[in-house]
């Protein structure tokens, strides 16, 4: 290969050393950073991808729009609270995500399939597994990336509320406690929704089916649970209301935060309708069990996809 090609005529003045060197193939002797690094790279690439960063302009539109939609109500509430010198924020930190659950659901439905269905559809998965990373690295990176993206989506408006509350000179200790409880709650919500979204999306290589399936699972479960709860409440069987809440992701989180994070429940029947501490323990176990089950199902799925 090593071809030297004089730029000027060979009888150019001596000392003229400008030449093009085609140095041919060069090997690589630098460091190879291994599995952990590859997993972190996949995580950051997937996290950026969940907001359309590093992708086409078109794919940035929806996640960015949803992010703005999540934050604008918080900003308006803060503006009102500051302007009218309210004594407390119009909405609890823990309640905000419950109110905005439709937006969060839409985000999961749009980004979970883009994270995993693309690799399945274009058969890129074998390229990953022909490299040092293992199935568990791939699944963890993708899961962590979508959960982090959801956490950013749900925690950002809480941060807006918190900063606004401090600007409005509300009680610092109160607000910090509420903010911390809100963060724990949205972290659990992010892990749960990311797991459910990825498991559904990883089944199909078709992105459209993935989106539809995630929306269907989230809305049908939420709709069914709230209908059943309303019926149970109307018939006076208030004990059943809390148990029914176990069957949809958002009411699960609602139950956990009502029992342990000082939130007021949105279950029908008022403040007393939320789960007791014992019931709350069941809620926590179900949430953690679901997260573990999602991880296990993803691992099983990718063991099969392999090469």
């Amino acid at each position: 290969m090593a071809v030297e090609q004089p730029l000027r005529s060979p009888d150019a003045p001596a000392g003229d050393r400008s030449r093009i060197h085609d140095i041919g193939y060069r090997g690589y002797d630098g460091p190879r950073l291994g599995r952990g690094y590859a997993r972190r790279s996949l995580y950051s690439q997937s996290l950026r991808g969940a907001y359309g960063l590093g992708r086409s302009l078109k794919s940035k539109v929806l996640p960015m729009l949803l992010f703005v939609v999540m934050c604008v109500p918080a900003a308006i509430m803060v503006a009102v609270a500051v302007a009218t010198k309210m004594k407390s924020l119009p909405v609890d930190y823990t309640r905000y995500a419950i109110l905005m659950q439709a937006v969060i659901g839409l985000y999961v439905a749009s980004q979970a399939p883009q994270s995993v269905s693309r690799d399945l559809r274009f058969k890129t998965v074998p390229l990953y597994f022909s490299r040092p990373i293992e199935t568990s690295d791939y699944v963890r990176a993708k899961y962590a990336a979508l959960a982090s993206a959801l956490f950013v989506l749900t925690a950002a408006p809480l941060l807006v509320l918190y900063v606004g509350a401090l600007l409005a000179k509300l009680d610092f200790a109160d607000q910090t406690k509420g903010f911390a409880e809100g963060l724990v709650s949205v972290a659990l919500l992010s892990l749960l929704l990311a797991g459910i979204g990825l498991v559904i999306a990883a089944v199909t290589p078709r992105r459209g089916f993935g989106i539809a399936a995630v929306i269907a699972v989230l809305t049908i479960s939420a709709g069914a649970v709230s209908t059943l709860q309303a019926i149970a409440d109307a018939q006076g069987s208030t004990g059943a209301v809390a148990w029914i809440g176990l069957f949809s992701p958002v009411t699960l989180i609602d139950g956990v935060q009502t029992a342990f994070l000082g939130a007021t429940t949105s279950f029908p029947g008022g403040t007393g309708a939320g789960p007791s501490t014992a019931q709350g323990a069941v809620y926590v176990l179900v949430v953690l069990g679901l997260i573990a089950a999602c991880y296990g199902l993803l691992m099983r799925r990718y063991k099969k996809v392999g090469l």
Binding site: M1, I23, G24, Y25, R26, G27, Y28, D29, G30, P31, R32, L33, G34, R35, Y37, A38, S41, L42, Q45, G54, R55, S56, S59, R118, D119, F122, K123, T124, P126, L127, Y128, F129, S130, R131, P132, I133, E134, G306, L307
Partner: protein
């Protein structure tokens, strides 16, 4: 680019190489950052790159590999077999992704059963099927794959630019892959297999779907991977003629079992067949027949090239050496005919499917037809 301290950088292990031709501390290694000029010696003679010992893979209803034992040395090795002969299964096992039912295998001296991750760090893989997302550019995609192989960000970008240039992708590498031709996509697939500078690459049917020109270019590229880049290659194909031109060594598998393993020169050495075609003149209205008779008079038997394009105008004869060429030239010149062509037709690898030499020698035209 921040340069790592020289002492901390791992260097290519040269212990096994006899008589290193120069002091490696004085080479341009230090001058060009992370990528370095490759030492002249890349493979140690006598080292085997892949070893399998009675390797079997049985699925509930199918036996994909049946007690396969082969040794593959450095260079370009072709793995030939019909669809379903067990080629892809073998690659999967060699990458450490699928456990063998019995037997053992080593790649670059590493056991596939226990050291799969270490193997995959040193080996590249180009799958048979499409594997490229259409909405990203070749550069972005290959950089990402380089990082998945453990290359730091700066090195990943530098290696990507280098590798894409070597496989023949230039300005188009910034465009989304969705708009590429099949040939360009195959080049991107090849680039992602080479980007981390592996010691060995597995290429699964790299010429699939390419037109004849693209096929030739891909085969030339595969040859260069070994000669210029110093990377050993295991390339699969179901077309024997392709591998004959590219490979140093050919392994033929059929039904999961080894049919034959030998060097390409062994396959095609034997005798050379010459094909000649001549013009007709007024003096000799049938030039071909005139040449045949003249050659027969000199004691050289010829055959007609039945089944070849231009049958009836082509004569085949066995070249014993230089003198045969001279004889043919003289005979045709004496008859005053024009020589349209005289070309060598080597015996083709397809003959490995024949059992004995006698049968092959009896039917040389059959051999030609396979490669024609």
């Amino acid at each position: 680019m921040p340069r790592a301290p020289a002492a901390a950088r791992p260097v290519r292990d040269l212990r096994g190489i006899p008589d290193v031709p120069y002091d490696w501390r004085l080479t341009p290694r230090r001058l060009c950052g992370l990528t370095t000029a490759r030492p002249a010696v890349t493979t140690v003679g006598g080292v085997t790159v892949i070893v399998t010992e009675s390797l079997s893979k049985r699925f509930p209803r199918v036996t994909a590999l049946d007690r396969l034992s082969v040794d593959v040395g450095p260079g370009v090795t072709g793995l030939v077999g019909a669809n379903g002969a067990g080629k892809s299964t073998l690659i999967k096992i060699l990458l450490g992704l699928s456990p063998a039912t019995e037997g053992r295998a080593e790649v670059l001296g590493l056991d596939v059963a226990t050291e799969g991750a270490a193997i995959r760090e040193r080996v590249g893989y180009m799958p048979e099927h499409d594997c490229l997302p259409p909405d990203v550019s070749a550069t972005e995609f290959v950089v990402h794959m380089a990082r998945m192989s453990g290359l730091p960000p700066a090195a990943a970008r530098e290696r990507t630019a280098d590798t894409l240039r070597h496989v023949g992708l230039y300005e188009e590498r910034y465009r989304p892959i969705g708009g590429y031709s099949t040939g360009m996509k195959q080049r991107v697939k090849l680039a992602q297999a080479l980007v981390h500078d592996p010691q060995l690459v597995f290429l699964d049917e790299p010429t699939n779907g390419l037109d004849p020109v693209g096929r030739d270019e891909m085969l030339g590229l595969i040859r260069r991977i070994h000669t210029d880049f110093g990377i050993s290659v295991l390339v699969t194909s179901h077309l024997l003629g392709e591998l004959e031109r590219t490979c140093d060594h050919v392994v033929v598998v059929d039904g999961g079992a080894l049919l034959r393993s030998s060097s390409t020169t062994d396959f095609t050495r034997t005798t050379t067949t010459l094909a000649i075609e001549v013009t007709d003149t007024d003096e000799h209205p049938d030039g071909t027949r005139a040449v045949r008779e003249a050659l027969l008079a000199r004691g050289v038997r010829t055959e007609d090239g039945a089944g070849l394009p231009g049958a009836g105008h082509v004569l085949l004869l066995t070249a014993e050496g230089e003198q045969t060429y001279d004889l043919v030239r003289d005979v045709i010149a004496d008859l005053g005919l024009g020589l349209v062509r005289m070309e060598q037709r080597r015996h083709h690898i397809s003959e490995v499917f024949r059992d004995d030499h006698a049968q092959r020698d009896a039917q040389p035209e059959e051999a030609v037809r396979h490669g024609g």
